[in-house]
């Protein structure tokens, strides 16, 4: 545990002592701010129409929070490769991996520390959106439980893609390749079920199951389904397991 903590702090510090953390936060703040504005603008104009026609008041959760969360889950696909790219690639390039691998530290401690620091940074980036969401609570009365479930979903989805990114980072010493490879896998896992719209074969089922964004949809609606949690958690374990295997092979091949 002590080793994980020592390594975790070092990783987190190196995120924040370079510009990468701030750049990603700024990027997310701008993009999320834009989507937030767009969603509230639509909500207000539709709301006015509905009021004039004497309809029911519109649900903030359904009209603002849900589309926003879906947007964030896709923005995540772009941010995550940039979070994980340096984790192992940088250590391999500068040779510091030799220090870590000759220290009395187990492989899983190193992997957990790196993955947890990536998750922490991702959570910090997501936390910026809380500033925007506060406005919803100031000017309206959205239900906070579905929002929490939504953010839990974002963290689970993020954790799963971050684990895959960590794995890709062990494969190369070039950060550009790490970012490109992770991004390609994220894209594939996003669009993989687009071809299965009218298909009900077993293959289509498998592809649908693998789509990370499809599993996120229930979370966006505020529905916590064990099936989706199990999917994300098992993907996290799978990604970290691949990372451990890759580190082992690093020893044998290097």
């Amino acid at each position: 545990m002590k080793n994980i903590w020592v390594l975790y702090r070092k990783e987190l510090k190196s995120y924040f002592s370079s510009w990468i953390a701030y750049l990603l936060m700024a990027f997310f703040a701008v993009v999320f701010g834009y989507f937030f504005y767009a969603a509230t603008a639509i909500f207000v104009s539709r709301g006015m129409q509905a009021m004039m026609m004497g309809g029911m008041p519109m649900d903030m959760n359904e009209w603002i929070v849900r589309p926003l969360l879906m947007n964030v889950s896709v923005i995540g696909l772009f941010i995550i490769p940039m979070i994980t790219m340096r984790l192992f690639a940088e250590e391999k390039r500068t040779g510091t991996i030799e220090l870590l691998m000759t220290s009395p530290v187990r492989d899983y401690e190193l992997i957990m520390a790196k993955w947890l620091s990536a998750v922490t940074l991702y959570a910090a980036i997501l936390a910026i959106s809380a500033v925007n969401l506060t406005y919803l609570f100031v000017y309206g009365e959205p239900d906070w439980k579905p929002i929490l479930v939504g953010y839990l979903g974002l963290l689970l989805q993020g954790g799963c893609l971050l684990a895959i990114g960590t794995f890709v980072s062990t494969l190369t010493r070039n950060q550009i390749i790490a970012v490109g490879g992770t991004f390609a896998i994220c894209m594939v896992l996003w669009v993989i079920d687009w071809v299965t719209a009218y298909d009900s074969s077993t293959w289509a089922e498998v592809l649908r199951y693998l789509s990370v964004v499809t599993h996120f949809e229930p979370f966006a609606k505020g529905v916590l389904d064990t099936k989706d949690v199990v999917f994300y958690v098992s993907m996290i374990f799978f990604g970290l397991f691949l990372t451990a295997r890759s580190m082992e092979s690093l020893r044998w091949r290097a």
Binding site: K2, N3, V6, L7, K10, K13, S14, S17, S18, T94, G95, T96, I97, E98, L99, L100, M101, T102, S103, P104, V105, R106, R251, W252, R253, A254
Partner: protein, 327 residues
């Protein structure tokens, strides 16, 4: 302290290290000598548990590198060829990080950082970013990192590579100091022959993955220096030089084992004169040349290159083997 037993490491088909065995006693400074690509780094990486051996094994401070890597890693300090530094960290912060990672307790940490900063003379850059340091300072921070947890065994891969002459001398002094102060057992690799003579007590020479010799520095220097090789350039004062005459005269000098013609331009000729063991022939050579009425343009001992050492060592080993067989 260190016991290496028929260690072999293959990368695919290439054999990087081929059945090397040696032992190192506690407190010794051992020089690991070999040209680039001889397998020095690979051997060190196996000893530090960075790479597993293909076959054979090694015991470090009583623990097996394959079976108990964590115990081994606790007891070794390692400075790779390129110091493993994080440029975005300050020196003291980096040393604390490595210290914690290597198992220095929190209460001892500040004291240890102070101590190694003092030993390695990096106190004045403690709060500087590593990325801003000069190469000499980086090397010293690398050394400080290796000794932060006061390890039993210190493994240094080419600790003086890329430093300027002053820094090289300082680093060698520091290594000797470390052996005295901390009673560390030290293995250092190098491809520079005099470095071993100046710092080490014992030498392990490898070439192309094979062990060429293990010996104490005195014995080895003796074996190498016993037979001296000198370069002589002579010039005839009147026209052509009689080469066969010159060769004959040099060969007649007592103690000379071999005379090789290296170069010949008009009246000038350069020879390499090899002497038998324990014979100093420089004065005799000079006298012989002058007595024959030639000019002595140059007379200098030929510094033995690492290649020569290998040739000589392998040759003398073959001779002893042959002699042993004959008896």
């Amino acid at each position: 302290m260190i016991k290496v037993d028929r260690l072999t490491k293959r990368y695919g088909r290439t054999v990087a290290v081929d059945e090397i065995s040696f032992t190192v006693e506690k407190g010794q400074i051992v020089g690991f000598l070999g040209p680039n690509g001889a397998g020095k780094t690979t051997t060190m990486r196996v000893l530090t548990c960075f790479l597993p051996p293909t076959s054979g094994g090694a015991t470090m401070a009583g623990f097996d590198v394959l079976k108990q890597p964590l115990e081994v890693k606790k007891r070794i300090g390692y400075l790779p060829e390129i110091p493993p530094l994080y440029p975005e960290m300050e020196v003291a912060e980096y040393l604390s990080f490595v210290g914690r990672l290597k198992g220095v307790s929190k209460s001892n940490l500040a004291r240890r950082v102070d101590e190694v900063c003092g030993l390695c003379a990096i106190g004045d850059v403690r709060f500087k970013l590593i990325g801003r340091l000069s190469k000499g300072y980086r090397q010293r921070v690398g050394l400080a990192q290796a000794i932060i947890h006061n390890p039993d065994i210190l493994i240094l891969d080419e600790p003086t590579a890329g430093l300027d002459p002053k820094q090289i001398i300082e680093t060698r002094e520091l290594i000797k100091e470390l052996a005295k102060v901390g009673e560390h057992t030290i293995i250092l690799s190098t491809h520079i022959l005099p470095e071993v003579e100046q710092t080490c007590e014992k030498v392990i020479i490898i070439n192309k993955g094979k062990l060429v010799a293990t010996d104490s520095v005195e014995n080895l220097t003796h074996r190498l220096r016993g037979a001296e090789s000198i370069s002589v350039e002579i010039e005839s004062r009147n026209g052509e030089l009689d080469l066969s005459e010159a060769q004959r005269r040099l060969e007649q000098i007592p103690g000379v084992s071999r005379v090789i013609l290296k170069d010949n331009k008009g009246p000038r000729a350069a020879f390499e004169v090899e002497s038998l063991e324990k014979h100093v022939v420089r004065g005799d050579v000079a006298r012989a040349v002058v007595e024959a009425g030639w000019n002595l343009n140059e007379l200098r001992p030929v510094a033995m290159s690492l290649e020569d050492v290998f040739l000589q060592l392998t040759a003398s080993d073959a001779e002893t083997a042959a002699a042993g067989g004959a008896q």
